[in-house]
């Protein structure tokens, strides 16, 4: 590894920081075009129904309305859900993607018709004039019910509501119980969780002068252009997404959003069309974190050695498959927690219901099981008479320890160190029983291991290109969707580091499906790992060419030269050098290649046997530990978060600002998930469909996050970096609830989310509200 890093790890301003600070960044809704129309989706009135017919004649007759489309107008209304993968995985992982409704309506978010009109108001009126003949049906809203024989069938296309069943086993779980001195069992429920990005889904589409469907839509997955082409019956070359930076994604823009709708409307009207979802439409329509019903049974010896972990998980997939099987893999994979457990049985099932579909949300199946296994750990500690920290200390996985699938993670595992650091910080002073105002104090620490990089059987790859400009600056091109995490800027920092330049010398051109190399999705905490490595490799190729050129000029072998401060110089005598720009000029004069593209491939594995998953599923893991201190008012059940300590091994920070931002933001992202954030689903209807009813913390509700960032250098990313985006929100949720438990001294009512003050007050009084 390179020793003297000049730029890497510094808190450098990103290339787009100023534009965003000044409000000059043009997001989806900021773009207008001459002669443009507005588009709108008519969605179902019922969560479950049979679609008997649609009469669009009145809507079409409304002056100013230019298109009213239904399923019959879609060239290919059905396809397989894709998420940018370069490999056909098959095997139950890829479900149906339907553009507009036919047959059974599966949820309230089901798109029935599309409208394009001169104004947004006309779109609203036109939607009201579309006459839909529904036959409402009972529907099913609980995945446990949906999996029973004779349950209401959610879809017209499948014979069962089951989406997938998977299993991981090791050791002999049945024999293990007899050796356990303490066993704790618990049922847990995790609520659907909203991403709550500031920018709702939307964008603009038009036909260019050559008939190419051109989109300007902010998405986490540029590769949806292939699905759009397939739906439209066009070649992949005839659909382009120029894309645009997003005002947040968090996984909610991993699924296709407005792209096909815009393609259909611009093709029909041959005019530019803009579609922006309202907040209510966004909240009711886009995927949520999977609600999970979990049962855990954990056993240990009296000296606190965990012997057995038995888990069953039922996931609510909602109306369509989308990413459910992939999320399920992550939940199943992580269910036993980051602890050495010789005997494990994990069975997971997912089912369709008539709820809004579930799919990716930051953490991707990890936080649900993390909530449950970390609740179990504190209960087990209580039963064994050990401190929760000590129980973790005795069982944490160390380097070289296998996961339940038998795979031994390759990157460094810093959890033992993280646990000690958080314990020291949280318990720097002894915990007071109460605050001076009488509230009880609780503290807790929770741990997590979270994967970064996509499932290895998807055969993930990324590409980045760079071009040397004749003035010594560098153009970087990468199909990296930037959702605000600084994904593109980090690549520039890597290239600048390698070429001995300033970050301002490297400018990124990003996220155009047909003008930038496809870098894959901004999901799975993969961009730094995948595209960062591709950028590093690409810079290395260019560096080699420049060093050869300089070697020819300076008369020293390449091995004696180095790059830095805009120069190529002799290591032993930096006065012997040539400017970077001169090396570029010579390379150009000699007909050398000033532009290059490189590809980085993740490890590849085969699709696992779902009935007995073994071996490697992901490239590596990032480890986190959260410490929380709360104060609980015993007379009201209200609690206040007093301290949050967020610790992570980032491997190596690339941009310190961005890294700390992720770690702080991740903690806040989930701090109120188990207690406040509640969509209030009632039989397929989202009652909390605005930010006045879906309650989230603001800066006034949370303390400053105290971050502890280790840099072990033990990651698979550039310079030993690990991914931090999703791991940052794991392990905070159970720390919050366990801290409340520590304060009030009971586990009553703390297992099924949301854990509200009302439930906490009853817990204090010994009233069970969960059974």
């Amino acid at each position: 590894m390179k020793k003297n890093l000049k730029l890497i790890g510094n808190p450098v301003p990103r290339h787009d920081a100023l534009a965003k600070a000044k409000g000059e960044q043009l997001y989806s809704d900021d773009w207008v075009m001459p002669n443009m129309l507005y588009g709108k989706v008519l969605r179902s009135k019922y969560p479950a129904a049979i679609l008997r017919g649609i009469d669009t004649s009145k809507a079409e007759a409304l002056p100013g309305v230019h298109a009213v489309l239904t399923a019959k107008d879609v060239p290919h209304n059905e396809d397989i859900s894709k998420f940018g993968q370069m490999r056909d995985v098959g095997g139950g992982f890829e479900g149906l993607y339907k553009v507009l409704a036919t047959g059974k309506i599966r949820s309230k978010s089901e798109a029935i018709a599309l409208v394009a009109a001169e104004t947004e108001e006309l779109c609203e009126e036109a939607c009201k004039l579309i006459e839909v003949d529904y036959e409402p049906t009972e529907g099913v809203y609980d995945p446990r019910e949906a999996l029973k024989d004779g349950a209401y069938l959610v879809s017209s296309e499948d014979a069962s509501n089951r989406i997938m069943r998977s299993k991981i086993e090791c050791g002999d779980i049945d024999a293990a119980w007899a050796q356990c001195d303490a066993i704790v069992e618990g049922d847990y429920f995790t609520t659907p969780h909203e991403h709550a990005y500031i920018e709702t889904e939307g964008g603009m589409g038009w036909l260019d002068e050559n008939g190419v469907i051109t989109l300007r839509v902010g998405v986490q997955v540029l590769e949806h252009y292939r699905t759009v082409a397939k739906i439209m019956g066009l070649q992949h070359t005839k659909v382009r997404n120029m894309s645009v930076p997003m005002g947040g994604g968090f996984g909610g823009k991993e699924d296709i959003t407005v792209e096909t709708y815009l393609a259909l409307l611009v093709t029909k009207t041959r005019r530019p069309v803009k579609m922006i979802w309202s907040r209510e439409e966004s909240l009711e329509t886009h995927a949520k974190r999977h609600p999970e019903y979990l049962h855990y049974k954990t056993g240990a010896t009296k000296d606190g050695k965990i012997l057995a972990q038995e888990v069953s998980i039922v996931m609510d997939g909602g109306s369509y498959t989308y990413l459910t099987p992939w999320v399920q893999m992550y939940s199943t994979y992580a269910a036993a927690g980051p602890y050495n457990t010789p005997n494990v049985s994990i069975v997971s099932e997912s089912a369709f219901t008539n709820n809004t579909f579930s799919s990716a949300n930051r953490g991707f199946g990890g936080p649900q099981v993390n909530f449950a296994h970390e609740r179990q750990m504190d209960k087990l500690a209580q039963k064994l008479g050990l401190s929760p920290v000590e129980l973790r200390r005795r069982n944490l996985m160390h380097n070289g320890d296998p996961l339940p699938t038998g795979f031994i993670p390759q990157g460094h595992n810093a959890l033992p160190e993280l646990l000690e650091k958080v314990d020291k910080a949280l318990n720097a002073s002894p915990k007071p029983e109460r605050l001076p105002d009488g509230r009880k104090v609780g503290r807790s620490i929770a741990c997590a291991h979270t994967v970064y990089g996509r499932l290895t059987f998807m055969h993930d790859s990324s590409r980045v290109s760079i071009r040397l400009e004749l003035d010594g600056s560098v153009t970087l091109r990468a199909g990296v969707p930037d959702l605000g995490g600084g994904q593109a800027s980090s690549l520039c920092q890597i290239v600048a580091e390698e070429l001995g330049l300033d970050i301002t010398d490297v400018h990124p051109y990003i996220m155009d499906t047909h003008l930038t190399p496809l870098s894959g999705t901004t999901t799975a905490t993969r961009q730094l790992y995948m595209s960062g490595n591709a950028a590093l490799k690409c810079a290395g190729v260019m560096k080699g060419r420049l060093m050869e050129t300089a070697s020819g000029i300076l008369g020293y072998p390449v091995s004696n030269l180095a790059m830095g401060d805009h120069k190529i110089y002799l290591v032993n005598d930096p006065a012997v050098n040539i400017p970077f720009v001169k090396a570029v000029a010579n390379l150009s004069n000699d007909g050398g290649e000033l532009e290059t593209i490189t590809q980085f491939n993740a490890p590849f594995t085969e699709v696992p046997d779902l009935s007995n998953i073994k071996g490697q599923l992901n490239p590596d893991l990032t480890y986190t530990c959260h410490g929380v201190e709360v104060a609980v008012d015993e007379e009201t059940g209200e609690f206040e978060i007093l301290r949050i300590i967020a610790a992570i091994d980032a491997g190596k920070m690339i941009n310190k600002n961005s890294c700390e931002g992720q770690v702080e933001g991740g903690a806040i992202y989930h701090v109120f998930w188990p207690t406040h954030e509640d969509l209030k689903w009632e039989k397929g209807i989202t009652r909390a469909n605005s930010f006045s009813t879906y309650i989230m913390p603001t800066a006034a509700d949370v303390p400053d996050v105290e971050t502890i960032i280790l840099e072990s250098g033990g990651g698979l990313g550039p310079y030993g970096a690990k991914g931090v985006g999703e791991p940052s929100d794991n392990s905070i949720a159970p720390a919050v609830v366990n801290a409340i438990r520590d304060a009030i001294g009971t586990d009553l009512n703390l297992n099924l989310m949301p854990v509200t003050p009302e439930k906490i007050l009853n817990a204090i009084r010994g009233v069970d509200m969960e059974h």
């Binding site: 007379e635 109120f672 003050p757």
Partner: protein, 293 residues
């Protein structure tokens, strides 16, 4: 419903003086007053404003934004912004329960826009600023082209969203008398998050008479169809010797008196339950602030 835009069509009026505004109200039908817009615009987007042909923007009328202190008390213009009230040092020293209530409302961006008069005229049972004004014995100044009348704040509300205002009238000012004697005030609020509307709010304003309660007024928000002025229970406390048991008995009494409902923020049972502690604590706090032992 699509909160991206306002579907209703209306005319926008912006009078530059109070007389002009009152003239508009007397001449035109279906006028809604725009002060901060933090309720009105939201309701328009949600299509819950049935009758509005005119939106009258009163932000061009300077006198409605003024605050004026005299020996008798303070007169706050109805369109004074919440931010200007909470940052007013004199207001805080005279009427701490009011500034505490205002600070407890929404987020700063909303408080920059929202007016105190709007908090009254929106007539939500949850309105935070209302309780302190009622408890301080505040009076509302209501004007129309016909003249001016004064209504005690506690008599202003009739039902959710409904006040005593006639169609040609508007709230122009709020008068609050200066508290006299050994006074102590407390405003407390329970909400899911800092910027959320209340699950419960409570105001206590008392004047101490040695070891006894002299005058006392209490009110609660989010427990009834309108902001609730606890007139009888408060009156029953006057002259009583203050004690911890009195505070707790009063909590029990208020809780027993309430008939709250379940809503999306909490339950009726929780409201009644927590009211006991909340009242006892606020009473003790106000007592301590009055200098009582």
């Amino acid at each position: 419903m699509n909160t991206k835009h306002i579907m209703k069509e209306y005319d926008y009026l912006k009078p530059s003086g109070l007389d002009e505004a009152l003239q508009i109200l007397s001449e035109k039908e279906k006028v809604k007053i725009y002060a901060g817009g933090t309720d009105l615009i939201v309701k328009l987007k949600m299509e819950t404003v049935p009758d509005m042909d005119y939106m009258m923007d009163i932000n061009g009328i300077e006198e409605l934004k003024q605050v004026e202190y005299t020996d008798e008390g303070v007169r706050i213009g109805a369109n004074r912004k919440l931010w200007d009230i909470e940052t007013d040092q004199r207001m805080t020293s005279l009427f701490p329960a009011l500034t505490d209530a205002v600070k407890a409302m929404a987020a700063i961006s909303v408080r920059n826009l929202a007016s105190i008069g709007g908090n009254f005229c929106n007539a939500s049972p949850v309105a935070d600023a209302v309780g302190p004004v009622m408890c301080y014995g505040g009076t509302l100044e209501i004007a129309s082209a016909r003249g001016v009348r004064k209504v005690p704040a506690k008599d202003f509300f009739l039902a959710p969203g409904v006040t005593v205002l006639e169609k040609d009238e508007m709230l122009t000012g709020i008068f609050i008398p200066t508290p006299k004697g050994d006074v102590g005030h407390a405003f407390t609020k329970m909400a899911r998050t800092k910027s959320d509307i209340a699950k419960l709010s409570l105001c206590v304003a008392l004047a101490r008479d040695g070891g006894r309660i002299g005058h006392i007024a209490m009110s609660m928000g989010a427990v009834a169809a309108r902001p609730l002025f606890l007139e009888e229970i408060s009156a029953g406390l006057a002259g009583k010797e203050m004690s911890e048991s009195l505070a707790m008995e009063t909590g029990e009494a208020v809780s027993g008196f309430l008939q709250p409902i379940d809503d999306n923020r909490t339950t009726a049972v929780y409201r009644k339950d927590v009211t006991k502690t909340m009242v006892a604590d606020a009473l003790a706090l106000a007592w301590a602030r009055s200098g009582g032992a």
